[in-house]
């Protein structure tokens, strides 16, 4: 009936980012006339491996994997080889050589770079505040051990290691979720009174929103404008406009169109780059131009059906 079967293994469906990621993936391939099946690994690497085995035994023409993590999915390229199925990996990477065997391409985000961008903005702000790069920061992280958390940490460290007077004085695992982000912030605010710290870095905008509730509730308004996030969600961007968050990096969840393009090109015999980075954009509120861009971005996202009204 259709042009062929495309199977997609999704890491989890725990946040809006993943939901959009799945929706767009499905839409892209279905509109192009393919049959589309997918499985949700619920953030469990062992389950994701089993999902991939199950999907491959249906002999799809293409397997798209959005890995939970790098290491535990090491067997995937070999499995694709054995099943004689094309493989495209999106978002996070897998061990092995994209562009060899059945693995056509890796379409990814550079998470280390995300960490670097956040850290550089923090250095800039602190330097502005004190006239020299110094200050104390708190860090509310995503799930301990998750690969973006680790990579972004690497990025942060790369930058902060250059400034001996900038220090991360407290860390808490906010598990990428809003409520836990709030609890973490509440506790950290108890540990550090007014004047003890300059700002807080959050591993995503959702946790930043939870942290913002804690800040309002505890009357720690001195921290408004000294929050960093990641993802560039509508609410996050709104917080940038409101001056609560100072900076966020957008990580777009849309890989389907790109994966389709890459696959069809490869099928047509064209050369495709084995590793491709999706563009990302930083959002800041220092200048009017930046503010304008944030407003625009909010509208763009709304047009895509994300965020509201």
């Amino acid at each position: 009936e259709g042009k062929g079967l495309v199977a997609f293994s999704q890491a989890d469906m725990a946040n809006e980012w993943r939901v959009m990621n799945t929706k767009e993936m499905e839409q892209a391939f279905k509109e192009a006339g393919y049959d589309f099946v997918w499985a949700n690994a619920n953030a469990d690497p062992a389950k994701q491996l089993a999902d991939i085995e199950d999907l491959l035994s249906r002999k799809p023409d293409l397997l798209v994997v959005a890995p939970i993590e790098f290491e535990p999915l090491a067997p995937v390229p070999r499995l694709a080889e054995e099943a004689d199925t094309d493989l495209i990996v999106v978002d996070r990477a897998l061990p092995g050589e994209p562009g060899t065997g059945k693995w056509i391409s890796l379409v990814t985000i550079d998470f280390v770079d995300t960490g670097v961008r956040v850290a550089e903005d923090a250095v800039e702000q602190l330097t502005e505040k004190y006239g020299e790069p110094k200050g104390k920061l708190l860090h509310v992280t995503g799930n301990t051990g998750a690969s973006p958390v680790i990579d972004e940490q690497t990025g942060l460290d790369q930058v902060f290691d250059q400034y001996e007077n900038i220090e991360i004085v407290g860390t808490c695992d906010g598990r990428y979720a809003r409520e836990t982000g709030r609890s973490c912030t509440e506790d950290l605010l108890q540990a550090f009174s007014k004047g003890d710290v300059d700002g807080i870095i959050f591993d995503n905008d959702d946790m930043m929103m939870g942290g913002l509730s804690a800040i309002s509730s505890q009357g720690r308004d001195e921290l408004r404008g000294w929050l960093w996030g990641k993802d560039g969600t509508v609410e996050g961007l709104q917080a940038v406009l409101d001056g609560d968050m100072t900076f966020t990096v957008q990580t777009p969840p849309f890989f389907g169109g790109k994966a389709l393009e890459v696959w069809e090109a490869a099928k047509a015999g064209n050369d495709v780059a084995p590793v491709q980075y999706v563009d990302k954009e930083s959002f800041d509120n220092d200048t009017d131009a930046q503010m304008k861009r944030v407003e625009e971005r909010i509208e763009e996202l709304k047009a895509l059906g994300v965020g509201c009204c």
């Binding site: 690497p45 062992a46 002999k59």
Partner: protein, 332 residues
Amino acid sequence: MSMNPSPAMTGHGFNWRTFVGQNDAYLALIVLIVIGGLISPEFLTTLNLKNLLSQSAVLGILAAAQFMVILIAGFDLSVAAVMALSSVVFAQFAPIGLAPAAVLAVLSGLGCGAITGAFVTLGRVQPLIATLAMLGIARGFAFTVSEKSLLVDSPLVVAMSKSWGIISVPMVIWLVIAALLSVFLYRSRFGLHCLAIGGREQTAALAGVPVQRTKFLVYVAAGGLSALAGIVLVIRTQSGVPHVGNGWELASIAAVVLGGTALFGGEGQLPKAMAGVLIYQTIANLMNQVGLNPYYQDIVRAIIILAVVGVGIFRVRQSERRVNRAEIGETE
């Protein structure tokens, strides 16, 4: 007696109901497999059966650990965390050599089991809470060993993830463990003592069964088995994964109960519990096979679990109705 002979007391001819009763878990599995074959053309292929068996191996070994603990009327919520710990220990030390790495991994599991066992027996901490605490402890240690997953780059491990027909290394390890343990539990004094402790601890103690020692050993064994599951996980994923297995503690309990084990101890057969694992895993496999939207997969799984356990219980109730009164339900 003249009025109500209990089923087991009447004659020795073949009794259809008794047969179904004694083999319910296997029959449920067969029914599921037949249904699978009918609704999905790929279900009964060699490749898929190999996948299914290999996928079941890790949960299967965890369920064997869980089975022993449930048999003595406990629960072990730490199985998956101990597995994760063992997998990272193994991965961490694999560069030194696979054998020493495996030994250290198993030791880490036995150690966790010993701590749990000591608190349950000497500290009189309820098993549920002791193993819940161990869940945290083992995860903490796992993250301390390695914050992120560790790739095991050994050619041997890669070789072990190959398969021959439906035979894979994880499957073989699982089945060997399950078979040995089944025979051991059925034939040994230790196994009988576990049943007695789970059935009525007070009675076992009065009969001179070394209750505390047996319990302690069960937790140690469960720790060791969980660690073996961790090694099998490494074979499957080529990595040690500190955060793997969230939710598997409840899945292992569900699988064991699907296999007809009494949830509160004292009754059960390991081979049936293993059939329960296959039922659990077959459901997951089938849903992917037929491409069921993941949004509905949890719902379907829930319904099947309820149905299998419900039918099992209904059947037990039917066969025991007559003699219910004879049960002396001492509340203790």
